[in-house]
Assembly symmetry: D2
Homo-oligomer: 384 residues x 4
């Protein structure tokens, strides 16, 4: 039931809201369907203004009622009603909404993990969520830069498989020649940045980033803590642990990713560059399915590694509409389009993302100060 | 577990904190005592700086851990340890601390009720806490003013019974002749004030009060709601109900109590006036023991009614030290003294106060904007 | 024209507002009077809701218009109109309002000094307002405590001379025996408090005070600054100067005054104690008339010194109505009464107060966090 | 001297800061140069962290000192020193910095106008800055959409003339076929949007935009006011005036521009589309040189009008680095690059922009809520 900051939601709320999606967008139009509780239409609405009222986001932690048992009964009621719906003929629109509802629930599965991590870290006892998945990695290869050619390239989703509306339409972009790092930035590399006094050097930061760093007193990624003797540890879903230097750095904001890249003499990739590079890679990696819930050091000998899983990679691209973008009709049109402002695109999924949820064209987005998601850094460079 | 605003605390927290008091101030000094969990000393500290660290007040709603079962085990552990302590010889200081701990727990019993009321009101489903105690009162006698003589009078606690340090020492004050209303202000009277456009007339209000009214958009007491057709209801611990006009008005701030008195051509009593008048009254009334958890209309034929129970009565006295006040030594000295600033004194207890907790000399205190306690109004006048 | 914080006003505004008082409360009712500019009635209203609209207080620094020349013409216009009014018969009410208007202007004369001090301190170049009045004081006698008897005493204004409504009516209070320090607390004594780590010891502070100290990072009185080598200086109306240890400490909040008294094993006087002691003292001291605009070390051999002038003395009394208080009728009734909430009483005037403005019964008031006035500390004690 | 909000600066500050630029970046390195006042290096620094300290932006309105006369003397001192510098040999870097300083001063000339407009509007008397330039326009042609072909196009500055670093390097982008409106959106068109209840329909707005609209209570463009009888007027640099329906709508935020476009079934142009279309247009229009300081209705018979002057046109492009962007070396590198976050690009200049300052490749940028600049809307569409 904990909501440790307005951006997070209680696990009970996630469970109810994902079920609400199916009731609201699929079942409520069926003449035979009887709502579990008509008040839930407003109670578990997140932000769909065209559906009706919705509670203030920061109040979700006050919902002692409905109880967890009632929410579970709500889910069972909707599940069995969906089975009835699925047993009949479905229109194309219904099929699309069901697929959207399933992908929506996968997104909230990831949020349940990130929000519980924040909730458990916020309280004095700092309980652990999962058994410790001890990390045995003890080395990392130096990162190399892998080159890609410029010119016209196509990005965006195409074909019969599911995608969100913001991945459409597939369209041509013109890229300059560029290079991507062969792996994610590690904790060791990020510590070098910290030890070079980066959090006190304004010339490394965007103006908004520097204001944020000084106002909030940031000195390290979120969840990191320094002991009086100088040792760094971080909070994980398995509790407090010593930093593993070979793992990808995680829980950094766009501001930190951007400053790290500048300090490195490099930059972040654009989302088009990232997608062009990822299109040729297999969708494999350290996902939620592995139940590690923590990024892993790079391994294997592929020229480019960790493009999928581990951490979401901040790109230098603002989250905006693709040329020709059309939001879906009706209230589900509020799903993605209305957030195209003051956010940056992240790519590739994380250790909290279900494997079947991600693809090369997938566009995640968060505001540049956000740090509670599993977010990290891959360097890019202009190629001349 | 709900914390619907920083002033409120989750019921689980109240249960743990009252037990913490006994562990910290009584048991922790015993060589045989083994703390239930040493981390609780900080975790459940409210504000005693001399005890150690304490969490930020507004974070109490994040404590998913310890679980309710663990808190109950903590209470059982401390209860049995207290029984061992009580079976031996007690020093005078120990006896005093035990009595203080019991009175402390009674205060939190009242807060559990006021905080649950706020928590249940804050959420969309607005559940009820207690079965409906339907009110059958259908008349109120007009209020009269009862006169008291001026001159030197003594106030403050005296004698062997328990009191808080802020009721001490008993001392002389000089009162001018005054009169007190024979009963509390009713909802009918308060509605007349509202209908006279009082919430839009700055000349009736203290400057801070007017700023608060306009900033927060107050139009009625807290928990009141008006239907589109103009009917007023309020949220009670038994759910949403129509206003009973004969009940005492409740959940008003000092600002509203003061403005109502000004509009009435009267004023609030000082705490010395109130105590002088109350000293001759029996400590009887509508307390938590009746399990109504809601104020009742005045009844009976005593010249002055409702001095105890129903609602805490705002006085026009700032909460300050009595002449010769000495806070208790050590950390428990932080109990009362350090709050003597920007608060007003309330007297008489409420429908959520345990009967055995209250007395004529009892000084409660809240800042002038507070409305979530059971607080109401009794008028006073100068007598010439 | 500078308004360096919302509590302060530009000197041009003070000049216009004090003239507005005469136009609004005295001239606007005369049939022959033609307003200088009818818009000024709202433009230079401070907070009199019964007069009409008034600008938001924090916007006064935006008034580039009317220009200073126009404000001076406004003053000349009102001055000559007042001369015409004064040449005729005056009603008692008019006489009273004129006297009130003059006292009102004296209050703003003091505010012009305190607000310019804040404005000049706020800007990078820190200009000086007045020639340096170098202080040659090099010694202070130790403070002694002077005893006063308890029992019934009368306080409040009486007689034909002017007073504000908040000094009325004269009435009896009962005091316990007490003692007052023979002089104000000095910078040397306050430095001892600072050097005893007082700004880091929560047990010395009121709860609100401690929150304020930590939130705002207070480490010394306002206007004090420490050089990298540890030397303290302060900003004065004659510029930045080294601390003179023998002067009274100045620009402390109620929170600091109260904490200093607690650290000293003493307390602040109540306003009734202060007034009882002051009633027998001559109204002499270091006032604005001396054009020093800075407090001076105690001198002379009177048993009690510095009761008037130098710094306003925080009392431990909340600013509330005297028994029988009646605010003046009409809009001028908003002058004092509506501020009786969350403020503390200060007594005795300061080095920025005109000599003819002050008296033993005079009640000044500010919220407990205010520090930009010339405010200081005198200790008091219970006498047993 | 007025600073009516932190985004604005006093005219005196603009005058000093533009001179500071030449002193800091050009003169301070000359052995013969004697600073006018060494303290000005920090005092009039805006945000160049590599130069040194700078005052908090919102404090600029407190600078009563240096006086206007001193600032004028500072300007004369720097002007004559610059003449000495110009009379000698200049390095390429010096020439570039001088050109940058002149363009910097032109930017502040525009800001002086927008900041005075805000300052004069903020105060009760609402003075006028310039003589009224009455507008006689009484008709507007309907807007048409003009088509442009897709494919690879080059944008960005090229050649020996001055540009800011953010216009570099010239590079290829791939555009889809698109169409641009033949003129700016008018007040009449914007009123139709308002009258269609647009400020109360969340489905028309970005999520951040809707939050801003409801939080700030927006109902119309900035500077618009509705009389009790429903007539709209706006504040101009010539005072309050009735709305001219044929003029371009002005002082709208990105949120409003975006919502208007959505309501119109269109969208905003990307900056690449805009630049491609503008590249073939003459740089002519209603600039500050005309001293009208207010946008004008479209006239003439060119297929595309008002691309330059009148109002800055919000594009749908976030302000980000061009591929291959390199900020200038040293402190002047902070000029543009560090603001590439949470801002949108505007194109074309306004009625407050000097004619010689603007060009097709010019990139202006403001956060999406900003409204005090002369900002308006041109519609765009996908072409299929």
């Amino acid at each position: 039931m904990v909501q440790s900051m307005p951006d997070c939601s209680p696990a009970k709320w996630h469970a109810a809201h994902t079920t609400w999606f199916f009731e609201t967008f699929l079942l409520s139009g069926e003449p035979w369907y009887k709502p579990f509780d008509p008040r839930f239409r407003d109670v578990f609405n997140s932000y769909y203004k065209q559906v009706g009222e919705h509670p203030f986001r920061g109040d979700r932690g006050t919902f002692s009622h409905p109880t967890l048992a009632q929410v579970q009964a709500f889910r069972a009621h909707v599940d069995s009603s969906m089975e009835r719906l699925l047993s009949g003929e479905l229109t194309a629109e219904q099929s699309a909404l069901i697929e959207l509802g399933l992908n929506h629930e996968q997104q909230h599965q990831e949020l349940i993990l990130t929000d519980i991590k924040h909730a458990f870290w916020s309280q004095p006892l700092r309980p652990a969520y999962a058994p410790s998945a001890a990390s045995s990695q003890s080395s990392t290869e130096p990162a190399r830069f892998v080159s890609f050619e410029g010119g016209p390239h196509d990005i965006g989703h195409q074909g019969p498989d599911f995608s969100f509306d913001n991945e459409l339409p597939r369209h041509t972009v013109w890229l300059q020649p560029f290079a991507l790092a062969s792996r994610l930035v590690t904790n060791a590399e990020y510590l070098a940045f910290m030890n070079d006094d980066a959090y006190h050097r304004p010339e490394l930061w965007l103006s908004d980033g520097w204001d944020t760093v000084t106002r909030l007193g940031w000195k390290a990624p979120h969840y990191w803590e320094q002991s009086p003797s100088g040792e760094w540890t971080y909070f994980t879903l398995s509790g407090q642990r010593a930093i593993n230097l070979h793992e990808p750095v995680c829980h950094v904001s766009y501001y930190e990713a951007d400053a790290f890249a500048r300090w490195s003499g490099a930059r972040l990739a654009t989302e088009a560059e990232w997608e062009h590079a990822a299109a040729s890679q297999p969708v494999e990696g350290n996902f939620a399915d592995a139940r590690r819930f923590h990024p892993h050091a790079a391994s294997g000998d592929a020229p480019i590694r960790q493009m999928f899983g581990d951490v979401w990679e901040w790109t230098g691209s603002a989250y905006l509409a693709y040329p020709g973008f059309r939001p879906a009709a009706g209230a589900v049109g509020e799903y993605n389009g209305k957030f195209m402002c003051n956010q940056f695109v992240l790519r590739g999924g994380s250790c909290a993302t279900p494997r079947s949820h991600i693809r090369a064209t997938y566009r995640n987005f968060f505001p540049p100060h956000a740090r509670w998601q599993f977010t990290g850094v891959r360097l890019a460079k202009d190629e001349r």
